[in-house]
């Protein structure tokens, strides 16, 4: 058994929500209150509170890479904030064995008037590094972030990408026993994201303990060797089987695995269009629910009210498997332009067939996505877009040898040929 690094014992954190103005009657009252309230305020039994964390207990061991997942507001960031001691628990206790470094909101503390070089020292000191440590790593940091040309330029002239790259790099080069990482791998361009993912995995291989908060299930699956799921401040599941926790998150969090979605109360409404319905149907357009065989014909139907015709408007769906991996995106504009469905204003239904004998057995989530191509997202995948579910079971292949779910993300049936020699 490895050494214990963090022990969290019955930790709860309460936050005050909403405005907390008391009505002052006279100037004199307000003045005396001014001096008194900082104390009174924290002790009053005003009911305007929420529990961001509720009676959480957890032990984390050396070398563990723990993924922390859950919906927004589930308490993930609060947990990291308590472990990094930015804030204190309301109840309970945390013991930490070793030095903690945190990559929460990286780049906090950069000063725009200072040069890159100066900011490396400043930010390093803010994160708790000694001047000598920073000096030793200075060249590596500059090299990794790729800003050597601009190292003596004030940071206000940096592009956003350069800014986050430098911030991530300094934080990643912190020499700490425990590293807290909050959704920072989504910064920078694709190339830098890949680079930072690699950096994270090399850190984890070096035996350091990492707590990793992310909405990117692929990254969690790749990096972590254990995972916890938080819901409304409570620990829902904790396992070394990361995949099972992720499944738990994606599928039990949804109230029901509906195969049809309606735009209730016009929750989604855009200048260009209003989505009305998305559903899984058979070839005649009647809705399907429950299991679907992999060789049956399944269509995704999107009904919408098109208000403005914009040539850049494009709509479709993204399909995710149980591990949160996106299998593909499909848009109505994927084919040569002369074969696109001709959109007209008013109520229309767009439909598209899901490839037969292509998916594997399992549960799939289909998200409606829409954008003005290269201009802006209307419905961005992964950002609370309308979604429906499709469960594939059976009908994988007519081969007598192949009746069960196969390894692999997809399970296409591919013809083989033979050449006699």
């Amino acid at each position: 058994m490895n050494n214990l690094m963090i022990r969290i014992e019955n930790v709860s954190k309460r936050y005050r929500i909403g405005a907390h103005q008391t009505r002052y009657k006279t100037f004199r009252d307000s003045f005396t209150d001014l001096l008194r309230t900082p104390f009174k305020r924290f002790h009053s039994e005003n009911p305007q509170y929420i529990w961001a964390l509720h009676d959480l207990s957890l032990e984390i061991y050396e070398g563990e890479v723990l993924g922390i997942i859950g919906r927004n507001g589930a308490g993930k960031t609060t947990l990291l904030k308590i472990i990094s001691r930015i804030t204190r628990p309301t109840k309970g206790k945390i013991e930490i064995y070793g030095k903690v470094g945190s990559l929460l909101e990286i780049g906090t503390g950069f000063h725009p008037e200072l040069t890159g070089r100066e900011n490396i020292y400043l930010y390093g000191a803010i994160l708790g590094m000694k001047k000598r440590e920073i000096q030793n790593r200075f060249d590596e940091i500059v090299d990794f972030s790729g800003i050597e040309k601009f190292i003596d330029t004030p940071m206000k002239f940096y592009s956003n990408g350069m800014f986050v790259r430098l911030a991530f790099t300094i934080a990643a080069y912190l020499d700490t026993d425990i590293l807290l990482v909050d959704e920072v791998l989504s910064v920078g361009d694709a190339e830098f994201q890949k680079k930072s993912m690699n950096k994270m995995s090399s850190i984890s291989k070096s035996g350091r303990t990492i707590l990793f908060v992310s909405h990117n299930m692929t990254a969690v699956q790749q990096l972590c060797d254990s995972c916890i799921l938080l819901d409304e401040g409570k620990l829902v599941s904790h396992s070394h089987d990361v995949g099972s926790v992720i499944k738990n998150y994606i599928y039990t969090e949804e109230e029901e695995l509906h195969s049809i979605w309606y735009n209730e109360n016009n929750k989604y409404d855009f200048y260009w269009f209003t989505p009305i319905r998305m559903s899984i149907t058979d070839k005649n357009g009647s809705p399907i629910s429950g299991y679907v065989k992999n060789d049956s014909e399944v269509w995704v139907e999107i009904e919408l009210l098109l208000k403005i015709i914009d040539p850049a408007f494009t709509i479709g769906y993204a399909i995710f498997n149980e591990d949160g991996i996106c299998l593909y995106w499909s848009y109505h504009t994927d084919t040569p332009q002369n074969t696109w469905p001709l959109l007209t204003k008013g109520r229309i239904i767009l439909k598209s067939k899901i490839p037969q004998n292509f998916l594997n057995e399992g549960l799939y989530r289909i998200e409606m996505i829409a954008s003005l191509h290269f201009r802006e997202w209307l419905l961005e995948p992964g950002k609370n877009t309308p979604n429906i579910f499709l469960r594939i079971q059976g009908g994988l292949s007519e081969s007598p040898l192949w009746i069960m779910k196969r390894p692999g993300v997809v399970a296409p049936i591919i013809q083989w040929e033979i050449k006699h020699v």
Binding site: L4, F42, I94, S102
Partner: protein, 277 residues
Amino acid sequence: MNPNNKTVTISKPPSFINLLYFKELFEYKELIYFLAWRDIKVRYKQTAIGIAWVLLQPVLTIFIFSIIFGNFLKFPSNGVPYALFTLVGLLPWQLFSYSLTTSSVSLINDQNLVRKVYFPKIIIPISSVISGTIDFAITFGLLIIVLWYYKILPTERWFFIPLLFFMTIMSALGIGLWLSALSVQYRDVRYVLPFLNQIWMYATPVAYTIKVIPQKWLTLYSINPMVSVVQGFRWAILNIEIDLSTPFYISIFVIIILFISGLLYFQYLENYFADIL
């Protein structure tokens, strides 16, 4: 229990006094230096005359004071040229005023650091005060030139200047800790400060001598620690004979009370900064 011989940190609900706080403050001492260095570096960025502002501020103030108080109102100045008399008073006063203002608003100005990074937050007001000592040093240089012009030479009384300097810093920081902790919840602090500065300056013998204060008010007047400091500077630099003994003890007492209470108030409220800022 410490399974792997590493630093153990325990995070619990806040208690009123936390002695470990000061140990940790020591570990982060480099950050005090870095933040002060940042403040100094960026302070006069994007100004046309830059660091000259440090000299221009006292010079303009003396000019105004000389015209109004020295010329029109003919305030006494212990037989010393009025401008010099005021310059010696302004030297500690500007240090005090700058330190008080910057330390009080320092947490608001650095609120991102307060909310998103962990370190003993008292570092922020402390380092902001340190950045003001550069101004003090520059104004002191100006003073030395003026003294040389008036042929006033340093005496052994100059050895008291570090003590007086320290008293100025401590009283400003004492109030600054109170106000910065309050400012986290009450942004009113920012609007109160200019008035506080003005009132305090008139309650301090910067532009006038202490002789104008009636004897019976003198003890009350001396509660303001800056009275002793300004008087002390004149005593040390201009060789003016001033009876300092009683107000001096009162001042030191007041400063200690201010500083310790500010320190305790700050380090207790600090536990809530990230939650309410």
